[in-house]
Symmetry: D2
Subunit: 337 residues, 4 copies
């Protein structure tokens, strides 16, 4: 079927390619004309404005937005007046699910359908397919199923879960209608929250391995620093890249994230090209807020989020306050260890 | 080659089977004669005492212990006097790496080799193979490589990491010599620490999904309980088993642990047969202690460990103390919400 | 001066008493007539409806609300139409600071002042005074200063901070204008967030003392449970009530919360009358959300909050999921230890 | 009575002064002769070697060590051979309680008493007195009580806990015999663990106040950074030093640590002289290890400890690993925000 794609960055462009490979027809737009030209050269129908883009789509139109969360509202402001009743907008980016609730209500006033499609798969989705978590009205979801089915990895991308036989159960095809408006991004949000936790789990563990030689390092003995308890127990020099390889095979912690970690370590065993300032892009925060508002404990996911904040020195004043207290009660000066 | 196996529980028995399938010869012993009889019926050489077991092994002997960490010392007390110089003992269980350091020094006095082999793979290892993290002297490691190579999943069990070509790098065959005595169990310990973190990440995320309908639940309005901030934002009824399926395909959080979770949810969407009292078996604790002694942050791994303690009500007195304080400063009575 | 008080619960009634002791005149209202009658018997002017209450106040009126956060909006719906331009409403309860922002804008349309006054001191404030954190327009704050000065403990309630001499600096009198609308409740919110962290710090520490005899308890040795590492190091029976006493004198952790804890332990060394289900009443949640939205790490405060959730078994499904995973990969059954 | 003091640093010198003020006789030694000379000028009996020091003490001697934990063993190696049966050694420093267990057993072979005396009070103890947590055999404790009673703040340093009347209960005098050898340092260790948690609670809260203006800061809108959710809710400029003052009076979070924080903020509202690299000196680590080995949750205390590690960049490799994963799955480059 025909799909219009707005936003041809990392994700959007590859989704268009994956759709075209399967015979779907794509009309594309981006604020960067060269991105449009590139995909036009691969078979897509280019457009040079949102109006031009809309005019090239057949009714009822299906318009997929793959733009930064921060510019969705601005895009809708311009796009919505150009659309006609029964057209569908799909937000495939990393929007906050509450914005979906608000936006779907807004466009419903114009008889437009609004679908939120949480999309996981990163730069690898072109070949692996994208895991799709979809929310919004069921009619629109059904109409778009050929698109979702093509973008998704397909049931065969993983062995069927033991106990699952016969007709496919929901989700097994790699896409899922999760519920009403916002449900897709809600599930995607929690997905990313889990991702933060898993990443931190690997990162902390690798750091412990990396410092398994801490007992070989000399320490000062003074009132500020306790002697290391058991230095003789920490004298291993561990090949972390090799550990990642062995864990990839048969271990309980095998995962796609571990595969990626192994690849990074194979290329750069000490990861020296990274500064260690870790960004966060919204979902981790929203997941923690959801846990708090629901009243359920999420200490691991929240702590993983806070570690990212701290990696960017956002704990600076807190640390100064602790140093000030230590100075106050004990006359302790800060050490530069 | 020939291997002796002591301990024919869940893990040990399947390891013997995997070795025999590949043509290795196994002599087996267990304190439960029926476990010995079972494997004898499958082709192993049974024995009815440690002395009998040792007598059936050719020198230099290779004796693999697959027994609970708590009984390794008692087993060594009985086994070591029966062995001869140049024999090798392999501890494949979940021993603390510091015990390896102590034990290897002890048996070295009798010219015995001591190898620690952290073993991951659980009940699935018979078919998937076992991820093996090995420590101890290199001579013994080399001599045992045919055993390790058979037990391990093999390089083909995962696509080679991009950037890895030609001869196998360490770890790619699914087993790795990690370093001196204890290094194998050290790496396995951290592996399990990461596993705790990953499990908690999934568990917290699924709990957030499960409570995505919290806004549909009525709450009392009194001084003890703030009204829910945004009830209208939490009215989703999410099919968690279906979410696990969709995440298994193409998502960033795909992993073997997720596969197992999907299987559990397929069989029992609400997991009602579990009480939620989560055991911990040592490695998670040791990992946290290692982080602390090394001086590196491991808040995610430690928090995951503490969540298990709390699941078994080991926070009971702490909670009472908080209730007592609330009563003290605010006259707050405990609510049973 | 004259003040009207709506809400005569734990806090409101004592605040009225403290004001009257200092010669202020109080008009009071509560939905429970007996609460009104009680204070009328102590010298306050009672009223039997909000209309009656308002009619007994001189213009420009000052109306202090001391009601549950959940009923502030309903109270305002009824109260605001009864007021006249230049009257002032003070919300002294535990409202969310964002609600102050919304409410102050709303009542400003009727030329009413709106002051948010975060109030700490609990049931002890009658004698100790209340710490007051105030937000809103400065005119109204200045007009109400005689009230704040009476309710607050006064500068002499603590030794002046070394370095503070001469005229009082802001805050030294025990009340503070923190900023625009909502700033008072924002500071009070963070105050309570800190309180959650402090309470959890004491509670965890006391629990560690309480279990200092863990090494005297027999443990099973099986594959599910590692033997305790160093049982001989945990054989102390510690008198926790006595420890609280010693810490109250000269130690770094001395505090009012510790005083209250000592009192609870003096009355009941094992705190057996508490179930350990710890409530939370909003501010702890809001503090964590503020940290997340600001992008600053607050792992201690958030973890303290989550511990309260877990004390009420809101981690139930998460724990079941972990047990299910353990069963899946290792065949582990849950233990009831 | 007479007491010998070894170690005349911050703590030891002031303890000698406090004892002399009360009429006790002190013999002093330090590896720095000028420290000895200083106290000799104030009335103490100086000594120029440990042998000289011991010779000036009357039998049965009482020798208080106030030296860094790292040099206690070396000091004992030199001191113990100089002592006679029934002499007592008191370790008043920050030793690990397990070292007390080991050391007390060792010196018991020479009929020496060994007392561990956890000492809190910092540089303020001279005037406020020291909170003393004592372990070891009861005979020695009783013999030393005049010393403990002088060093401790005394019952009158805090109002008696409601419910405590008549004869003093254990701990009320400001010193406590906590149990057998090591019990004093065990209780002191947990005390410091709590202190870490409290300090982090204040520090995190102050950091949230400090960033209450986050909504006034411009943020980039791109795929890496979600727009701030509610910038209009974070536009407060809060006078943190004034907040500390108001909290000192009548609030639930009033404490001695808060007094010290207020003093630091009065002198330097932005704490610019601190770098924010926060040391840890052993007890926080040991407290977390004790929690883990006992099997009780201590997420707040552990997280506070880990925040200190992170303040010293010991999370560096972990952060790099997270950046590497983000690059791997999403093509995300690190931002320098």
């Amino acid at each position: 079927m025909q799909l219009g794609m707005v936003g041809l960055g990392r994700m959007g462009a590859n989704m268009v390619r994956r759709l075209m490979r399967a015979g779907h027809e794509c009309v594309v737009f981006d604020v960067h004309p060269e991105a449009v030209a590139g995909l036009a050269g691969e078979g897509a129908t280019g457009s040079d404005s949102l109006a031009d883009f809309v005019s090239k789509l057949e009714r009822p139109r299906a318009v997929w937005l793959m733009v930064p969360a921060a510019v969705v509202d601005a895009t809708l402001d311009e796009l919505v007046p150009l659309l006609d009743p029964d057209d569908t907008i799909i937000d495939g980016g990393n929007s906050y699910y509450r914005d979906d609730q608000r936006r779907s209500a807004r466009v419903a006033e114009q008889q437009l359908h609004y679908v939120d499609a949480g999309t996981s798969g990163g730069v690898w989705g072109l070949d692996r397919g994208y895991s799709l978590m979809v929310g919004g009205d069921e009619t629109a979801f059904r109409r778009l199923e050929p698109i979702f089915a093509t973008l998704a990895p397909g049931v065969e991308s993983a062995p069927r879960t033991p106990g699952r036989t016969g007709d496919l159960h929901p989700g097994e095809a790699g896409y899922l209608h999760c519920g009403e408006s916002g449900a897709g991004h809600f599930v995607k949000m929690v997905h990313n929250g889990i991702e933060y936790g898993m990443m931190a789990a690997y990162a902390e563990g690798l750091n412990i391995l990396r410092n398994a030689n801490a007992g070989s390092v000399q320490r000062t003995a003074d009132a500020e620093t306790a002697p290391m308890e058991n230095p003789e127990a920490y004298r291993y020099d561990i090949d972390i890249a090799a550990v990642a390889e062995v864990w990839r095979r048969g271990s309980v912690v095998a995962s796609w994230l571990l595969d990626l970690t192994a690849e990074a370590l194979a290329a750069s065993p000490h990861l020296d090209q990274y500064s260690g300032r870790v960004s966060d892009s919204g979902e981790g925060r929203w997941t923690a807020i959801a846990a708090i508002e629901e009243g359920v404990p999420a200490p691991v996911l929240s702590t993983a989020l806070y570690s990212r904040f701290a990696s960017r020195d956002l704990d600076d004043f807190a640390n100064k306050a602790m140093s000030a207290m230590r100075s106050g009660f004990g006359g302790h000066d800060e050490k530069q260890d």
